[in-house]
Each structure stands twice: as C-alpha cells, then as structure tokens.
C-alpha cells in the first residue's frame, strides 16, 4: 500500500444533521447550530466543544449571502480562536471540505476537527436561477456562453442524458426508475425533504424541464446543514466504540466549457476521482457495500453507476432494471433518498452524505427499512458545476482495512 494515503489515519466519531426541506422558519444560523448540536450529541462517549481544534466549513454561498469566511462559524457555534477554513467547490463543496479536514488530521496538525456544511437556498434572492443567470448576464465569455445558449443546470446535465440514450439505448424510464428508487427510500428517511413515494408514470408524465429530464428527474432546492467530527484514528475509541474510518479520497476537475468535453456518456471527473479514491482505499467498486451518489438529476446517478464501476459501461439500464441499486441488489445507492428525495442544500449535501455513511456503517440508519444489512464499506460522492466540472469522492468503513 502506498504511503500517500490517509487510509486508516482518520476516523469519524460524530455526525449530525437536521431534517432537510424548505426551512423558512429557520435562519442560516439556526440550521448550522442544530446540525452542530446534533453532531456533538451523537458522540457516544461525549465530547467537550473545547476539544475541537480546527474546523473546515463548507458553504457555496449559492445565493450570495456572504455567509462565507470562518468568522460566521466562529460566531454561530462559539468557536472563536481556532482555525476555520472555508472550502468551496460548487456542489462538491461538502465532500471537499471533509477531505481537507482529513488531510490536516492525517498530517498530525490536529487531533480533533469539525466539518460543518450549511446552505440556505430558499427565502433568499436569486437561488439557482441567480447563480446561473445573473453573473452570466454581466461578464466573461464562458458564463455568457451558458446564458446565450440557455445552458442551465438541467440542460447541461440533460446533454449527458440524451447522449447516453443515443449511444447505449437507455430510455427515459430508466432515469425514472432511479428517481422512484430514491423516493422509495427517501420516504422512509425522517431527514428527507420529500417523504413520499413516486411511480415511474409520475416521472414520465411530469412536465419536461429540459429533455430528457422532467420535474421528477431533478433534485429540489433545499435548505439544510450537517456536521461531522473527525479525529486521529488512534484516539477514536476515546469518543466511541464504533468509529468510522476514512479509507480513501479522490478529487478531480475538468474544464468549465462544455465544448471542451470529450464524451457526454461519462462524467470524467467522477471516473478520475473514483480511481484516486479506490487506489488510496485499496478497494474496488465491487467492495462498496452502498453508495451515496450525486443525483442532482436522475441521469447523473444512472451514469455514475457506470463511472464508479458498479456496472460496466453502457449497462446501467440493466443495472436499473434488475434493481441492483436497491437494498438486496449489487450496490444499494442513495438509500438516504439522495439529492432527489433527501434534498440538495449544496454545501451541506456532501457532509450529510458522510452523516448517512456514519449511520449506515454503524447499523443505525434512522427510519424503518432503510438500513443496508452488514454494510462495512460505504462511498460518498459529489459532482459540481453546470455539467460535471468537478467530482469528489470519499470512502469510509466501519473498521480499519
């Protein structure tokens, strides 16, 4: 095994989140505080906030609230004086912040660090519409390109959907089956934004947002927050008898411009990030017991089955038809409900995926019928950008490997 790894060096000993949704009754600070307090309370043997030596803060500032900088965290969580670094990497913000916290702990700088992600998407001006259109109308060739040709989030990812359909014979019903699965589990998750099941017909008959993606192929706009505590593996048992260990991490980017992409049937940053993460973890896709994938759109998740190696290239439609992404299938995916049903508060999403891994790997997934039996290794993935510009992947396990 390479020395160039954080494998087994870092453990997650606490994890908390809040029910995601349209949280008009909660401020940004409310959300962050609640997730943090839930995280503290989740530490089996207890933790004093004073033991937190550093913090990585995930916030994508998606609606320009300027909640950026560590000072917001210092003020809200009472963490004045410690190092607080804000990481932003579009929709991969949460998992990248987690990754950087792990690096610092692995480097020996800090024994205990907090990762907190928070994003207020509603009750604010602009939102995703603002993100795509407002700067685009102002400046620079590339955003203007997006705007001129109306390449919004659904249309950018939709290009990948249509290409996959064209090349591999994937049909809209296959994308629909992904959303149906996500709602099936999301309905059971007390932390989900949408807690109800949907049918393939619901998806196929919903209004088209950007072909081939209808309303139920698209994740919602969600408020949320999540937090986890990581520590040096050596001291993890001080906090819990059931720590979750970090095995590997990967991160990769490609150019923003869609015209520079080589292939619209694959999201290459995910392929590269997966390669890095698997290599560092010393595991392969066949070892992953379950995964939290970035299903900003149903076609994104479907293509990820292939990109992450859960099935062969072009065979995602069979993977879906055989329900291999359900509990009992080959690789249960988005048993949280995923972005589609659990929700997608940008920077909080990746951190919440870590929370879900923490729960699943400790056999304590909240809600009925949602626990993946005997889960030992879980993978968490984010994709970011209008079209896949970046992907970040972390692999965790319930024992050192």
């Amino acid at each position: 095994m390479s020395e160039r790894t954080i494998r087994n060096k870092v453990a997650v000993v606490g994890a908390g989140t809040i029910p995601f949704g349209e949280l008009y009754d909660k401020s940004f600070e409310d959300m962050m505080s609640e997730a943090y307090l839930n995280c503290l309370e989740s530490v089996d043997k207890g933790i004093d906030p004073k033991e937190i030596e550093a913090c990585w803060y995930a916030n994508a500032d998606i609606v320009w609230q300027r909640h950026s900088t560590g000072a917001k965290v210092a003020e809200t969580l009472g963490l004045t004086g410690i190092p607080i670094t804000r990481v932003e990497n579009a929709c991969a913000t949460g998992s990248d912040a987690f990754r950087n916290a792990c690096f610092a702990v692995a480097a020996g700088l800090y024994d205990v660090a907090l990762v907190v992600g928070c994003e207020k998407m509603l009750d604010t001006p602009g939102g995703l519409i603002g993100m795509v259109d407002l700067p685009a109308s102002i400046e620079y060739p590339q955003p203007r390109f997006f705007n001129m040709f109306a390449v919004t989030m659904p249309s950018a990812f939709g290009l990948y959907g249509t290409r996959h359909m064209h090349v591999y014979g994937t049909e809209r019903k296959h994308f629909a089956m992904v959303s149906v699965k996500s709602h099936h589990y999301g309905a059971k998750n007390p932390y989900s934004h949408f807690r109800r099941e949907i049918t393939v017909d619901d998806v196929l008959n919903a209004p088209i947002i950007s072909w081939p993606l209808g309303l139920y192929d698209c994740c919602p706009i969600t408020d949320g927050a999540a937090a986890v505590i990581v520590c040096k593996s050596d001291i993890a048992k001080k906090y819990t008898d059931s720590p979750v260990y970090v095995l590997g991490s990967g991160l990769a980017s490609q150019p923003v411009c869609l015209n520079l992409r080589r292939d619209f049937t694959t999201m290459e940053p995910a392929v590269w990030a997966a390669r890095q993460a698997y290599e560092m973890a010393g595991v392969g896709p066949e070892d992953i017991d379950f995964a939290e994938l970035h299903d900003c759109f149903s076609c994104t998740e479907l293509i990820q089955y292939e990109d992450l190696g859960f099935c062969k290239k072009g065979e995602a439609k069979t993977f879906v038809e055989n329900q291999e992404m359900y509990i009992g299938g080959k690789t249960p995916c988005n048993i949280s409900g995923g972005l589609k049903s659990h929700g997608h508060p940008i920077a909080a999403t990746g951190v919440a995926q870590i929370v879900e891994l923490f729960w699943q790997l400790r056999n304590e997934a909240p809600g009925k019928g949602r626990q993946v039996p005997n889960a030992e290794i879980g993978l968490q993935q984010n994709i970011g950008g209008a079209g896949p510009q970046v992907s970040c992947i972390n692999v965790l396990a319930n024992k050192k490997m």
Copy 2:
C-alpha cells in the same frame, strides 16, 4: 518541538506573480496564466507541469464572477484531472489556501502542489461596494446591521484606529508614516500597483474616507494573480538549490459582529494566529527578519506591529517614529509596498506575500534597494472580513530550523 507541526516538512520551490494594477487589458484567465507561467519559470532546475499533483486555488469571488471551483483552474492552466480545492476566507484567502496545500503535502498525500491566487477587482460590477452593500440590503440581521449603521470596510477598521488613538495617544501622523514607508518601498517594486513615493503631508491632507483614515491610509482596489509551488522538503533540491521552508502556520477567527468584540486596540485573530504560527515554527517575533503584513488600512498595519509582537502593546507609535519597520530597523515590514502600494487583489494578496518571502529569503527581491539584507526568516500575514474577523499567518525560512 511538538509533532503537531508542518515545520521543515514542506518547501516552496517556485513562485511567480504579475505586476499588480488596474489591469483592464487582462482577463481573469490572462492574469492567472501569467502568474502560473512565471511561477513555473522560477523553478531553478525546471519543472514539468505534469509533476503538479494537486492544486489549492485562492479566489474570494469578490465581485461574483463565479470564477470559483477548481474547474476554472483546470481549464485555464490545463490541469485537468488533478485535485483542485478552492479555499475562501475573505482577505485571508490566499494564505489559507497556501496553508491547506502545506497540510496535504505534510500528510504525504502529494509530493508537489500548486497554490494559485487570482482576483479580478476592476472592470466588473459591484466590487467592494457590492460586497458590502448589496447583500446587506437584502438579508439577515448582521449584514443589515453593517448597512444600517454604514459600517463599510474603512469605517470598520477605522474604529480600531480611533480607539488606538484614544487609548495609546497614537496620532494620524503615525498611521501616515506607515503609508509613507509602504510607498517608499513599493515605488521600487516593479510589481507594484502604485510606484511612487508619498509624504506624510500627502496622507494627512488627503480627503477623509472614514475618520481617522484618509485616502492614502486605504489600500487600493487592484487586479492581480500569484502562484507558488510547494513540495515535500525531501525532494526540494530536485527543483532548486535554494528552497524556502515552511516553519509554521496559524489561523484564527472571531465573530462577525462588531458588538461582540472585546477590544478595539487589538485585532485578536492576529494575536491568536501569531501564537499558533510562532509555536509551530519554534520562533518568536524577535526572530522575524521581515514581515509582509495585511495593511488594508494604515492603522491595521500599525496595530499589527503590536499584535504580532514586533513591539510592545501601545508602543507602535514609537516603533513607527524610530522607523523600525524600515530596512535597517528592527522588523522591516511590507518591503513589497504592502497592500497600500503593491496592491490588494484579495485572494492573490496572500499568495503574492509568499512570493515576496520567497524572493527576499533567496536574496533576489526585484527592484533596487528593496532587498532585506541577510533575511533568514520571514512572516506573512492576512487579515480578513469587514473589521478583523480572521487572520492567517505563515512563517518561512531559507533553511530548515
């Protein structure tokens, strides 16, 4: 010495920047590319861009151009496929990005990493006015507080100036002397935004922006970019016979709200960050041969002389009167020209300070009469936020210590 350190583990082997200024003729991508190419060329024994294994990208997105995410760097610098993390921490963005790159290298994850900072401040909508006013008019009690009481950047920092004057008898002329010193050296720096000297009378007679700060007490709005290459110390000699080593790093935040501050004669995050950095580096303020300080305003730099321990509390006025911050004085400060004369392109600033340290510590400061003789240890500092919300400090040396 504690193991909780990056001391001597990481080296800077390349550093490049571009002349700062109002760069209407250069795009964001132009600036970033030029700094990167200059950085590559600065590596004495050469480097293949393929050797760069990861990148930390400093951009504060200060005018909402959405130049965020690693994808922008991947596209502009041709670094597709490698991990690229964007760090943002207000005006401390550049030095915090550097810090995180050092952590990953110290953890053994990467042998060679790039840190690039870039900020387009002009030729864009909003700028600093937008940053302070636009979100403030929209949302949330705290920004609204800033707006309601007209707490802009100069007025937030000006509060510290007036308080220091009241408590310690500091006068406006002392702040002025700081700006005069910065222009004295900045005039000699071919990379400076403003390359001309000014006098104390110029400063005192300039229009007041926010008492006690006049026009020449305030740093300008500047475009710029800078890049450095860090590597494992063990392999530094592969790239240069004169590497610069990282000794220590510190980062600290305090609450955003000014009403939660205890003392307006000191910028506490700087005190805390300095304590961390000195401890990790195993040096004290008396060992610092020169410093690049965050002089967003003249009073900020003056107060930093005390906060970082270059002189005792309340004695900065004497420190200034005795020209201790000049070459030949106790601790030469901002020999680059500082933010005031060299310029302040937010996220690029901290990275450019590292570039200046690299030059000074290798006895190759560009321009005449600007080299600090026999400089062995340098300190670089950023302060961020409207009023000091965060400070990040890195200490570098031209040999392992």
